[in-house]
Amino acid sequence: MSANEPPGARPGAVFEALADPTRREVVRRLAQGGPATATELAGDLPVTRQAVAKHLATLAEAGLVTSDRQGRETRFSFTPQPLADAVTWMADVGSQWDDRLQALSQYLETGEPRPKRRKPGFDTDR
């Protein structure tokens, strides 16, 4: 069982996992209330234990929860790092595009190509 994903590996998986309101609620419950079993979580939420188990599996794949089995009981905990990494990914990519689009705008305006320019290889006419 690999509950320990490399940090930042899959920001998309984190965002997709948190796009679902029930999973957000599970995360909120674990973040605020501490570790819990699937049965306990199902008691707090308007969904079946089976549904909670599926949501927990999705959250675990995104690295947002880890599980700890003791005897017959498995407790789930919230792990915040992948969320922080995903938010950082968004911020970094956003600022990279801000820089690139500014460079593009200037390039189109001044028409000054940098060195290494090659011959266009694609006909842009319709």
């Binding site: 490399p6 927990l56 089995r69 017959r72 498995t74 820089d99 460079a103 189109l108």
Partner: protein, 143 residues
Amino acid sequence: MTGQRVEDGNAAPTPGAVRRSVMLPAPVEAVWAAVTEAGHLSAWLGGEVELDPFPGGQIVVREDGRLRRGVVVDVEPLRRLEIQWLPASRRIGFLWGPDDEPAGAGGALEFQLEPKGDGTLLIVIERPPAAHPAGRPSALAVA
């Protein structure tokens, strides 16, 4: 394997997608050239770019000793270019994204162009790496 698309404001965007739009002081033909011709791309994208701007064509970006590789997923001349970045592979030394991003990441990039008066509205959408490493089993089984 077609990437999910944002149908310009209608469909729900991919969660976590970064979207930027900018009005550019150039006609759509010039902007299309700037996003599809390797020489132009190399002038502003950052790094040295190779691009075969047809569906299935490859894009290679070399920057600071790093290599990103992707495949052109869809092309609609003068309107849209969509690229799927290939997952980084440590085995052959490709990395895409921040320096410390581990292997297994991919992501996608889409340009949308729209003529507006004398200029062009360019929309850029970068979707986050989503797929987990192929063949990886579910992370846990709930007893």
